[in-house]
């Protein structure tokens, strides 16, 4: 049965490390990086494979740095 899989792309150097996205992911698949971006912020990263592409993180991101992809996979 086809499963819906999601994936996010974070514009690493434009993320300001506000961490709001980490609180809205229903499958807790977003965390903060260990390294810093070019502004000295930790940036959002995917921390597990459970993303369903629900777009919550993209919608709530104040700087609009998260793009969300979703597809049916076998």
């Amino acid at each position: 049965m086809a499963k819906v899989k999601g994936e996010i792309v974070v514009d690493k150097d434009r993320c300001k490390g506000c961490e709001i996205c980490t609180t809205v992911c229903p499958v807790n698949s977003i965390g903060m990086s260990n390294d810093l971006n070019n502004k000295g912020y930790r940036y959002a990263v995917t921390i597990n494979g459970d993303c369903t592409g629900c777009t919550n993180c993209g919608v709530v991101c104040p700087d609009g740095v998260i793009s969300v992809y979703r597809a049916k996979v076998e």
Partner: protein, 256 residues
């Protein structure tokens, strides 16, 4: 195997937001509200008919981020500009974008009379209960006992007045068609705000009068909290005084 392919893209920043990095502090709600307005303008395909008015305050540089024709108003005067721009270009879509100091302190008269005239515009009001741009001073919407740089021991209502509920003041005015209060700290809230903005632009096209949208939002620098702590504090302290929800819908006050 990555699914990052154009055909799988379900959400990304609208191209009606410019590429300029937002000047707002990390986690500030301004960025979300800007994007929701531009997403509505994009989806309604009215970029060539929309004129925005930026305030004085943190959003003074809004025209660097929104890719539509914009005018920057003197502090508190956006509704006056909006009135003239709409009356002189009735086929255009006009929105004003103001903070609490702009709309509810210096611009109170412009706010009330623009609403009272029922101008066909959308008024966006960001209420973070503090003056952000100038460094955290007390605003008309600052809560009782809430600290700020000009109420360092907490707002003493006996001497500094009470939190001003301007949205409830303008809602009953006949010229106001839609009036609602929102937040942008959760996905549900953001989607609800976007629907309200879209409804506002549609009401404007139908010449129904004012759509007045307040967004209670965080000010992480002013409140001296991290974004997530600020949003939690907002829920616990601001929402009780500035309740989220519809106040007036299609000309009718919502029964409480």
């Amino acid at each position: 195997m990555s699914i990052v392919k154009p055909e799988n893209l379900v959400y990304t920043k609208t191209k009606l937001m410019t590429d300029k990095t937002l000047s707002y502090c990390p986690g500030c709600g301004h960025g979300v509200v800007h994007r929701m307005i531009m997403e509505v303008v994009d989806q309604m395909n009215i970029q060539d008919k929309t004129i925005g008015i930026a305030p004085v305050g943190c959003a003074v540089l809004a025209y660097d981020f929104m890719n539509v024709d914009m005018q920057q108003a003197a502090h508190g005067r956006a509704p006056a500009l909006g009135t003239a721009i709409k009356r002189l270009q009735p086929d255009k879509y006009v929105f004003t974008y103001q903070g609490d100091g702009d709309l509810a302190a210096i611009g109170t008269a412009e706010t009330i009379h623009c609403c009272n005239r029922g101008e066909d515009i959308v008024m966006i009001f960001i209420n973070n209960a503090i003056y952000g741009m100038t460094g955290g001073q007390m605003a008309p919407t600052t809560l009782a006992n809430m600290p700020s740089s000009t109420s360092p021991y907490g707002r003493d209502v006996a001497r500094m007045g009470y939190p001003l509920k301007i949205t409830e003041m303008v809602a009953p005015l006949a010229g106001v068609y839609n009036c609602s209060r929102h937040s942008v700290h959760t996905p549900v809230a953001v989607r609800r705000l976007k629907r309200a903005i879209q409804k506002g632009f549609e009401a404007q096209a139908a010449k129904k009068g004012i759509t007045f949208i307040e967004v209670v939002s965080n000010c992480n620098s002013g409140w001296k909290k991290t974004p997530n702590d600020a949003n939690k504090w907002m829920e616990e302290n601001l929402f009780p005084v500035y309740p989220i929800g519809d106040i007036k819908v299609d000309g009718n006050m919502v029964e409480k």
